[in-house]
């Protein structure tokens, strides 16, 4: 993986990068960027407009729920209108955030959140940046809008005295770059109540009348990326103010544990802040509680026996809350009335499986964090006795938020695991790290690598086999297993060089043997919400995707394909040298003299970097199993590198655009001739036919004008596609197809090194 790239390798990158400052990072991938509106009401059909990048020939808009379907919007002539779809949301479509994506020339795009709810929806169509232009909102409705830079959006509603309403602005949780500020004001715009921390305004009008809602970005940013959904809802009684659904953070990959009931078996009972008020519980337990009020401490007391080991898991941050739970377990001993507390365990965060990028000067890890501030740890009982367990929120000292709930589980070991996966990212120049969203849209002949990270539960440390199902025709995947005790592996997904256009919804999963039973767990895929091109200036925002769409395109091939000469299992004995002949197809022109190659996959990560000369059609990879110390067993590995090649974006569009331009030119010429003729005719027409002739001449002039406009458009398009199709230095990760290797036990050492799996 990239993290272990040698400094030499990075130096090379820097060297390669230096003379070509304008080089492109990663081959273009289809990305869906905005969807307007960003959601709809169940049982309705809405017209949706999309924008994106590297999108052409968009043929379909798809959703992660089969209850949401879309058809292209047709013009009066029955021709599909570009980037517009009519989306039908079935009455039984599940409420919540779904993923939308489009199918395009390059395949299936990255996802964009699409919310389905029960409230009526509107789209703001006119600017509403002042009190006077406030858009009137009906109660129990959602408005879809985009923020204007350096502006405040105004809404108004009629409030009834004593009738409680909740104003909630969804933005961060639906892929928006907006950090929403909500202000509730009187009819003159004088502020009454404010929320700037992504929360909700819970408001009971003191009098009947018009009230205003102001929305802006925290730093008054705006533009297409700053979209939001503003919901105004009436709330009955004292129920918590309703919130709109949001996507899941990467940390949520480890919650809930398999088989957990949706709600806790018991709940905390206040007061339980002090030792004397400790809530008596028996283990195991499953308790729901809240970090409320400020500086809340929840203390539980139980008895336990020597030799017992208990596992503690707390979920709060993984529920989408801004909390940092902490658990302290203490033993209670008494001498007379005097109580002594002895610390048994302090349980802090769930460590991430991989070191996360520090967003510093250079790349030092993936920009994804599967760890969490939540708790997952254990304590061991050394003596029979009474024990206390405290739960507190390390962020909760001054924060009074009743919605900051947690779930505390204390259980006997239930070994298990949770997985999440993401595309391998790369860096180029120091401090210029791109964190791009990478949909699984493959080019024929390409292979991509995904890191698969595991959070292990309750002492499970066995190996995990990784696999994928449901791949479209022409696409295959091989998991490079997560070895015993390790925290990540890889998934290599490859498209055959002769693959045809295809797409489908795949599943990624991991399989392990736990307590002699086979356990299979799903592996959700994480991606960036936005293609962040410089993570120093913009904070990358990753999230879990709803599912795993995969596509392959034959519109253009991969710049390079590295495969083994034969599709077979390569065998060798431990300690031997294994030579694997590679076939390399160079389709684009590469920069430099060679590419530096390393390896992914347990047993081979320490492979010494080797060079493959540019344009070499074959190369022999030499694996020194003695140096690698690869123990006997069956392995899958892959080679990877980084290369800069000349890439032409959609050159096929150039002749088409050229033809269109030519046609437009001819049309203009024809129209001009016709107009000239008709004008002359009109000038010479007899008086009784003068009116008709004038009219015909006018009409021809109009048509000529239209044709000229079309020609100008065609000219612009021609320039755009020609520019895009001109060769650009493009750096990308190169991954070989997976290589299967079987290492047999060396005969001499057979006695003392039994084959290990």
């Amino acid at each position: 993986m990239l993290k272990v790239m040698s400094s030499r390798f990075l130096c090379l990158l820097a060297f390669l990068a230096a003379p070509v400052m304008a080089q492109q990072v990663t081959l273009p991938l289809p990305r869906l960027l905005t969807v307007m509106p960003m959601g709809g009401q169940v049982g309705t059909t809405v017209e949706v407009a999309i924008t994106g990048e590297s999108l052409e020939d968009v043929t379909a808009l798809q959703f992660s729920s089969s209850k949401i379907t879309a058809k292209p919007v047709l013009d009066p002539a029955g021709k599909p209108v570009d980037n517009k779809f009519s989306v039908t949301i079935a009455p039984d479509a599940p409420a919540g955030v779904h993923d939308a994506r489009v199918v395009s020339r390059l395949g299936i795009s990255s996802a964009r959140a699409f919310t389905v709810g029960k409230l009526a929806e509107v789209v703001r169509t006119k600017p509403n940046n002042s009190v006077e232009t406030a858009l009137a909102l009906a109660p129990n409705s959602v408005c879809n809008a985009t923020m204007t830079k350096r502006a405040v959006d105004f809404y108004s509603f009629l409030g009834a005295k004593g009738k409680r309403v909740a104003v909630d602005c969804a933005a961060v949780g639906i892929d928006s770059r907006l950090t929403p500020v909500l202000i509730l004001a009187d009819a003159q715009g004088r502020d009454l109540k404010v929320n700037r921390t992504g929360g909700v305004i819970d408001f009971t009008p003191p009098a009947d009348g018009t009230y205003l809602i102001k929305v802006n970005d925290l730093t008054f940013q705006g533009g297409d990326r700053h979209f939001y959904r503003l919901a105004l809802q009436e709330v009955n009684g004292s129920a918590p103010a309703p919130r709109q659904a949001q996507t899941q953070t990467v940390s949520a990959m480890s919650w809930p544990p398999a088989g957990l009931t949706p709600s806790a078996a018991a709940s905390e009972t206040e007061p339980n802040d002090k030792a004397a008020q400790a809530q008596k519980i028996t283990l195991p337990c499953d308790i729901g509680g809240s970090f409320f009020p400020a500086a809340d401490v929840d203390t539980y007391e139980f008895t336990a026996k020597k030799g017992e080991t208990w596992w503690v898991e707390v979920a709060s941050e993984r529920l989408g809350l801004n909390t940092d739970p902490f658990v302290l377990v203490q033993r209670v001993t008494k001498t007379g009335e005097k109580e002594t507390l002895t610390d048994l365990a302090e349980l802090y965060d769930i460590a991430g499986p991989m070191k996360v990028s520090t967003n510093g000067y250079s790349y030092d890890g993936p920009p994804y964090d599967a760890g969490s501030p939540d708790v997952n740890g254990k304590f061991e009982i050394k003596e029979d006795g009474t024990y206390r367990l405290q739960v507190r929120d390390l962020f909760g000292g001054t924060r009074n938020e009743p919605g900051n709930v947690y779930r505390l589980i204390v259980r006997q070991a239930a070994p298990d695991f949770s997985l999440a996966s993401w595309a391998v990212h790369m860096t180029l120049r120091n401090g210029d790290r791109a964190s791009l969203s990478k949909p699984l849209a493959l080019r024929a002949g390409s292979s991509v690598a995904f890191e698969v990270a595991v959070i292990r539960r309750d002492g499970f440390d066995g190996e995990i086999d990784l696999s994928m199902e449901g791949l479209p025709a022409g696409v295959s995947a091989a998991g490079l297993k997560i070895a015993k005790g390790k925290s990540y592996g890889h998934m290599i997904i490859s498209a055959a060089s002769d693959a045809k256009n295809a797409s489908g919804i795949a599943r990624m999963m991991g399989k392990a043997t736990i307590n002699n039973a086979t356990v299979v767990r799903p592996c959700p895929v994480a991606s960036m919400e936005w293609p962040v091109r410089d993570a120093k200036g913009e904070i990358p925002a990753p999230r879990l995707m709803a599912d795993v769409p995969v596509s392959v395109t034959d519109s253009e091939p991969a710049p390079i394909t590295i495969t083994t000469a034969e599709d077979k299992v390569w065998e060798a004995k431990a300690g031997e040298t294994l030579k694997i002949p590679l076939k390399i197809a160079w389709r684009n022109e590469f920069t430099g003299t060679s590419i530096k190659v390393k390896a992914y996959g347990d047993g081979f990560t320490t492979l010494k970097e080797f060079d493959i000369p540019i344009k070499a059609a074959t190369h022999e990879a030499v694996l020194d199993l003695a140096a690698l110390k690869t123990p006997p067993g069956d392995y899958t590995m892959a080679f990877y590198s980084l290369g800069i090649s000349k890439y032409r974006y959609n050159p096929a569009a150039v002749p088409l655009a050229e033809a269109a331009q030519k046609k437009a030119e001819q049309e203009v010429a024809a129209m001009a001739a016709s107009a000239k003729k008709l004008t002359a005719d009109a000038a010479n027409a007899p008086a009784e036919k003068k009116a008709d002739a004038d009219s015909a001449a006018k009409s021809a002039a109009e048509k000529q004008k239209q044709a000229e406009a079309t020609m100008a458009e065609a000219g612009k398009r021609m320039k755009a596609v020609t520019d895009a199709a001109s060769p650009k230095d493009t750096v990308d990760i190169i991954v070989s197809t997976p290589v299967r290797i079987s290492v047999k036990a060396a005969q001499v050492a057979a006695a003392d090194s039994a084959p290990k799996k």
Binding site: N129, R150, A151, V152, T179, V181, R190, D191, K193, V194, R196, T197, G198, N216, L218, T219, F220, A295, V297, N322, D324, F326, L328, E346, T358, N359, G360, Q390, R392, L394, F395, G396, G397, T398, R399, K536, G537, I539, P540
Partner: protein, 742 residues
């Protein structure tokens, strides 16, 4: 004791002892041997040897000879004088030849000049002490336990003198007159002077002044009340306790107050002070027209409930809380923090809660903007110093390195306060340079950098706390601060706010509250603090009680007696508008709009979230908008300068505002109303008052006169008139009446 190494010195010592035995003088007069602590350190202090500028210069001392500041570390000083450099500074066989004496008397060249005269008692004492063998002193010696100044309190007429007597009291019951050895310092040098020998002389300003008297680390105060002695026959009817205390003081010192100001002055004054803006034309007209006897109180309420109040005071607080833009990426943190402060004020969150949320902030900035304070103020020492100065009015900086010279705070007190911040945990976030803050479990303690011993938390003047490792010590600190019995918290705030409304704090500087710097009206300060605490630290209640008082509403025009008054609030002290307020006021009067980066058009200068806008606005810079670098209000420059005058008269941005399209000059020139009415509107907008007949006449004559362009070509009537109004506006914004809140 002393390490005499050479035989020569041993012999010399023997000879000297003989000399001593033979010496009849002194021994008989003063049987008590002189000690370093009781007799020499006071000399070093009195003669400035151990001042920060001389041998107590931090780190280095002076030319290799280092003393502790004001003698707070006598043991170290003794080592340096007697033992350092092989004892080269003292020569007991011939005490007058000791380097210490030769330098002090400038007999050999001394950078500090002549500090003791060979004929003086101090000289004799030094010589005798060396002759006596340079006794340090022992535990059995009498310890200095108190100093008494007599008289303690006195009423003195202007330009009179009073000799003080200072007596040092020792643990053995003895006492000494140390008048000539004590140090004297008035807290307001414009009111009184104090001579080296304790002679106090009042100047010509009436009021209260305190002379701080210091001797050997102890501090006492001589309080002087300087009456003017004028008859105080007419006092406005007191509206609340503020007036009772202020008027009682005025009566006592004989300074008659000015009358209560008129409605127009009041409305303009209170709008500027609470909302940081001029009253609108509509507000002014409505206020004038209202016959309601409570209309002043109602205007105060209306201003207090407006977002302008929150904007204006957030501007004040965020600068003090160092909301400073160092890098472009700070924008999110700064906007969030500023907005959080503004929202807290808008919601009228109690002051103790606001402080608690800053002090004990945890989490990330976007989720809990108060955390941004920990981004700006990173080190525990800086944290305690800022908290003490800003929220308690106590300057602890000195006590980091030595005992506070004017205060009871020691290094131990300093580190005890620092220990509250010892468990602030930090974790990096995805945003470069921004940590998230959490309470790190553990026993709160910090190391005293002097003694290298661990120190547990203790609030100022409070016992040491044993805080369980699970509790965030900062919450305990916040709890102590906001307890009603806290001697600093409420006082510091009301004094700060008093200054906001009256130009001068009851204690000056407003954040230097100490026994040796008493308030000019201590009863009033106590009453205000009590009012604030009793109202659960409701900030608006402080503003309300101040602005409702007749004292606040007194005219700025002095009467025949009180012009000289600078601190008794017998009349309103006019102040130049602050940079932001002035810029907004010019915008408001000219009808122009300033434009600020990243903020919606129409944003006012008082709503700017951080200091970054000072760079782009020469106006804000010239008029002293603070940079958020310090917790001191003094960072805001309120003095006047030539640059300010020139800017108002000539700067391009001001000129552009005068000529703003759709601005006031243009619309007045176009307005369909008679000239006098237009001039009236202009005066109402700028001064919140009607012009008098003469002003109308002058204005009208000026506006309607024919004008020519730059080439001398006559302008058409409309353009001439517009230019006339631009010029009139220019004249108005350059008047003191406009520039000042009065």
């Amino acid at each position: 004791m002393m390490r005499w190494k050479s035989r020569f010195i041993a012999n010399a010592l023997a000879a000297w002892m003989l000399t001593l035995a033979a010496a009849p003088v002194g021994a008989a007069d003063t049987p008590r041997p002189l000690t370093f602590v009781n007799d020499i350190v006071p000399i070093l202090t009195k003669t400035d040897c151990n001042s920060g500028g001389c041998h107590a210069k931090a780190g280095t001392g002076q030319r290799g000879f280092k003393l502790s500041l004001l003698g707070f570390e006598p043991q170290e000083d003794y080592e340096h004088i007697v033992k350092e450099g092989k004892g080269r500074r003292v020569f007991p066989p011939a005490p007058e030849q000791s380097l210490l004496v030769l330098k002090a008397a400038s007999i050999v060249p001394h950078g500090g000049g002549k500090k003791v005269d060979p004929k003086s008692e101090n000289y004799q004492t030094l010589v005798r002490w060396i002759r006596e063998g340079m006794v340090y002193g022992s535990d059995k010696d009498a310890r200095l336990i108190a100093i008494d100044v007599e008289p303690k309190r006195l009423s003195m007429r202007v330009k009179t003198t009073q000799q003080l007597k200072v007596t040092a009291k020792y643990s053995d019951g003895s006492s000494r007159d140390v008048t000539h050895m004590a140090l004297y310092e008035p807290n307001d040098k414009s009111m009184a002077e104090a001579g080296e020998e304790g002679l106090v002389r009042t100047l010509d300003i009436p009021g209260n002044v305190a002379i701080m008297v210091r001797y050997s680390g102890l501090v006492s105060v001589f309080s002087v009340s300087i009456p003017l002695g004028a008859p105080v026959d007419h006092l406005p009817a007191a509206k609340n306790f503020v007036d009772q205390f202020v008027f009682a003081n005025l009566k006592q010192i004989g300074v008659p107050p000015s009358p209560v100001c008129d409605d127009s002055t009041f409305l303009r004054r209170v709008s500027l002070d609470i909302a940081g803006r001029l009253p609108t034309l509509e507000e002014t007209r409505a206020f004038f027209a209202s016959p309601d006897p409570d209309k002043r109180d109602k205007a105060i309420e209306s201003l207090l409930s407006s977002p302008d109040y929150a904007d204006y005071f957030a501007n004040k607080w965020t600068a003090l809380l160092k909301n400073k833009r160092d890098e472009a990426a700070d924008i999110t943190a700064n906007f969030a923090f500023h907005a959080w402060m503004r929202d807290s004020l808008l919601a009228n969150t109690s002051y103790d809660q606001i402080v608690r949320q800053i002090l004990a902030a945890t989490g990330t900035i976007v989720a809990n903007p108060a955390v941004a304070w920990y981004k700006r103020v990173k080190e525990p020492n800086q944290q305690l110093e800022d908290v003490a100065q800003l929220f308690l009015g106590v300057r602890m900086q000195c006590a980091q390195c030595h005992h506070h010279p004017f205060e009871r705070w020691s290094q131990h007190d300093y580190y005890s306060l620092s220990a509250f911040f010892s468990q602030v945990g930090r974790k990096p976030t995805a945003i470069a340079g921004e940590d998230l803050i959490f309470h790190k479990r553990g026993v709160a303690q910090t190391e005293n950098k002097k003694t290298r011993l661990p120190v547990k938390p203790a609030a100022l003047g409070q016992p040491t706390l044993d805080i369980p490792p699970d509790e965030d010590p900062r919450l305990q600190l916040a709890g102590w601060m906001s307890s009603k019995s806290n001697p600093f918290f409420a006082k510091a705030l009301v004094n700060r706010y008093w200054k906001h409304f009256f130009k001068r704090g009851l204690i000056e500087p407003e954040d230097d509250i100490r026994d040796s710097n008493p308030a000019t009206n201590p009863e009033l300060l106590d009453a205000l603090a009590k009012h604030f605490a009793d109202n659960n630290f409701d900030l608006k209640s402080v503003v309300r009680v101040i602005t409702q008082s007749r004292t606040y509403q007194l005219s700025a025009m002095p009467n025949e007696h009180n012009a000289v008054d600078r601190q008794n609030f017998s009349h309103y002290y006019p102040r130049r508008m602050q940079a932001e307020v002035l810029l907004d006021a010019i915008d408001q009067v000219t009808g122009a709009k300033s434009d600020y980066a990243d903020l919606p058009p129409g944003t006012r200068a008082i709503s700017l979230p951080d200091n970054s806008y000072n760079r782009a606005s020469p106006f804000l810079k010239v008029f002293g908008r603070p940079e958020g670098a310090s917790v001191c209000e003094c960072e805001r420059v309120q003095s006047s300068s030539l640059a300010q005058s020139l800017h108002l008269m000539n700067a391009a941005d001001v000129k552009a505002k005068l000529a703003a399209s759709n601005g006031r000059a243009e619309s007045l020139a176009r307005a369909e109303m008679p000239e006098p009415k237009r001039i009236r509107d202009l005066y109402l907008a700028a001064f919140s008052r009607e012009p008098d007949a003469e002003e109308i006449r002058i204005g009208e004559t000026f506006v309607v006169k024919p004008r020519t362009d730059a080439k001398g070509k006559p302008l058409d009537t409309q353009r001439a008139k517009r230019q006339g109004y631009e010029d009139l506006l220019w004249a108005i914004i350059n008047t003191k009446e406009f520039l000042y809140n009065h």
